[in-house]
Amino acid sequence: MKLSKDKLADFLAAIPGKTVFGPQLSGETLRFTPVTRPGNLCPTVNNATVPPKSVVFPQTETMFRFEQGATDIRTAEPSGETVLFGVRPCDARAMSIVDNVFFWDVDDPYYLIRRTNSALVGLACLDPCVNCFCTSMGGGPASTEGLDILLTDLGESYLLEVLTGKGEMLCQSAEKLLSQASSADKEAAKMLQEKAAAQISRQIDPSGIPARLPALWESPIWEKISASCLGCGICTYLCPTCHCFDMQDETEGEESRRYRTWDSCMFSEYTLHASGHNPRPTRRERTRNRINHKFSYFVDKFKVMACVGCGRCINLCPVNIDILDILSQVGEQAL
């Protein structure tokens, strides 16, 4: 199928009863926010700074409300269906990876509702950024994993591939706006996708990393890698696969709420015991945990690495700590 770009606004408007989230500038930050005017969408520039995980796993989310001194606990229930438009294939893959955690044995009820009620319309990356390395992590600029629809920008129109039943439902309401894609369109999309994949210059073979990490536990590389780390946590906050959260209570007047909020293993308080003891006392231990969690522990538990190669942690680190550089060091270190 094909969707002419001048019909995009109509296509989004035709989706009944769902809130469409898409990459839009809020201040200087590109993040997924509700689309009120499709003209504000920025689907063609670089990937959003804040990954779309923020829609299914909000940065701050109320879990319960209660009155001071009362014992009646009111559970906050996410409501409404959402469509995430313009999701990059790396971020869609990341959501599938994070599903492992939130659906491990016990479903996380908040995530379950938001995730079940959201459809992902992806946009193939045709102009990967300099630090993208999705192809090394099992993905690619046109990977369909986790997506319901994949769009490929053909200039005047999008090639629209329906990937799931959810994707089909979205198109049903906008059938009149779509046209048949010709074999030339499909060929053109394929060429663009392949060209994009070939443009990704940063590459690594991470297959040996999980097995090497345990042997490097006491290696001096952790000291070296973390020496310049400021502990700001941006690498984890904006990582599409990072899922750690804190839970806190807050009271305003008579009403209190329990909320959860993104947390980071790069913060000292993250593991600090009430006794004052901290099992990960310095950035060396925290950096080591971050890398081990993504490339060893997560693989042990869920058979997949918790990294999709989106490059955000490289692009955003204020002191240029580079995860690919870390992985290279892990790969090259004598065991």
């Binding site: 319960f64 014992t71 996380d108 750690c244 839970m247 959860r260 593991t271 015991h273 009430a274 060893s296």
Partner: protein, 280 residues
């Protein structure tokens, strides 16, 4: 029935008392769920924990320090340390707290049937050991000898002080208490728990050793158990780490690839010896 994994249940404090005094005093709470259905459906086994807290303040993961054989109530022995535990310490009989759980795995009590059990505890580390002691005591005919080794810095720092003389009267059960330095009228051992363990010199034959206490004590107890030829799979401990969710989502309680909240808190030394962060 509350099936929401984060939604706490309301419980009423029936009784409280101080185990120890001072800046980091330990207070025990005996609590009962308000909702009859929750009370009737609650099951736990020795080793498990619960998230207890106060609405508007927060929650802390605390070992359940009673055995289900003791009755339809829960006991928590809480050291006054952080924001939540300080607020909990303000509670008296009749006050409300929140409880959700139980979380984590349990001591393999069925697997241990017919075996001798020795617990080696230090300080507040006796709290997670108390349920297994009470459980074995209640089902004494199903288990072998029970040896309780417990120490603290001073006699005033021992928890559950009143319980040991009664416990020692149970058939095939012995209690050995220790304090670090000599005190007047102290009839028991003076010295450190790992040294007392060597003096007791338990045989590893058909015996499970369970230890919990400060990291330094655990380290020496483990070394001494190895000297006594205890195989790794006959040594157990329970770990603790900061926790928020209790169900393996929030990320922080891992020791290496193990989540203390889900894979633990009970681990055999065979499982932990190659986990580099286990005793960090």
């Amino acid at each position: 029935m509350n099936t929401h994994p984060y939604k706490p249940n309301i419980a009423t404090v029936q009784d409280t008392w101080y185990e120890t005094f001072g800046d980091r005093c330990i207070k025990t709470f005996k609590v009962v769920f308000d909702d009859e259905e929750v009370r009737d459906n609650w099951t736990h086994l020795p080793g498990q924990c619960a998230m207890i807290g106060i609405l508007g303040t927060g929650e802390s993961m605390i070992s359940i320090s009673c055995s289900p054989t003791e009755g339809k109530f829960l006991r928590f022995s809480v050291m006054r340390a952080g924001k939540v535990t300080k607020a909990l310490h303000e509670l008296e009989a009749g006050d409300k707290m929140t409880v959700r759980g139980p979380y984590g795995n349990t001591f393999p009590v069925d697997e241990w049937k017919g075996k001798n059990i020795i617990t080696i505890g230090g300080g507040i580390g006796q709290a997670p050991l108390r349920p297994i002691i009470e459980y074995v005591r209640a089902k004494k005919s199903e288990y072998g000898d029970l040896t309780v080794v417990y120490g603290a810095r001073t006699s005033a720092d021992l928890c559950f002080k009143g319980e040991f003389s009664e416990l020692a009267k149970v058939e095939n059960t012995s209690c050995r208490l220790s304090i670090d330095a000599k005190e007047e009228d102290w009839p028991h051992y003076v010295g450190f728990v790992p040294a007392l363990l060597m003096e007791i010199n338990p045989s590893p034959e058909n015996t499970i050793a369970i230890t919990c206490g400060p990291p330094i004590m655990i380290n020496f107890v483990l070394q001494n158990l190895k000297k006594l030829n205890f195989p790794d799979d006959q040594i157990y401990t329970t770990l603790e780490n900061r926790m928020k969710c209790g169900i393996g989502k929030c990320g922080r309680c891992n020791a290496g690839n193990l989540y203390v909240c889900k894979d633990g808190p009970v681990f055999s030394y065979a499982m932990l010896k190659n986990v580099p962060e286990a005793f960090a």
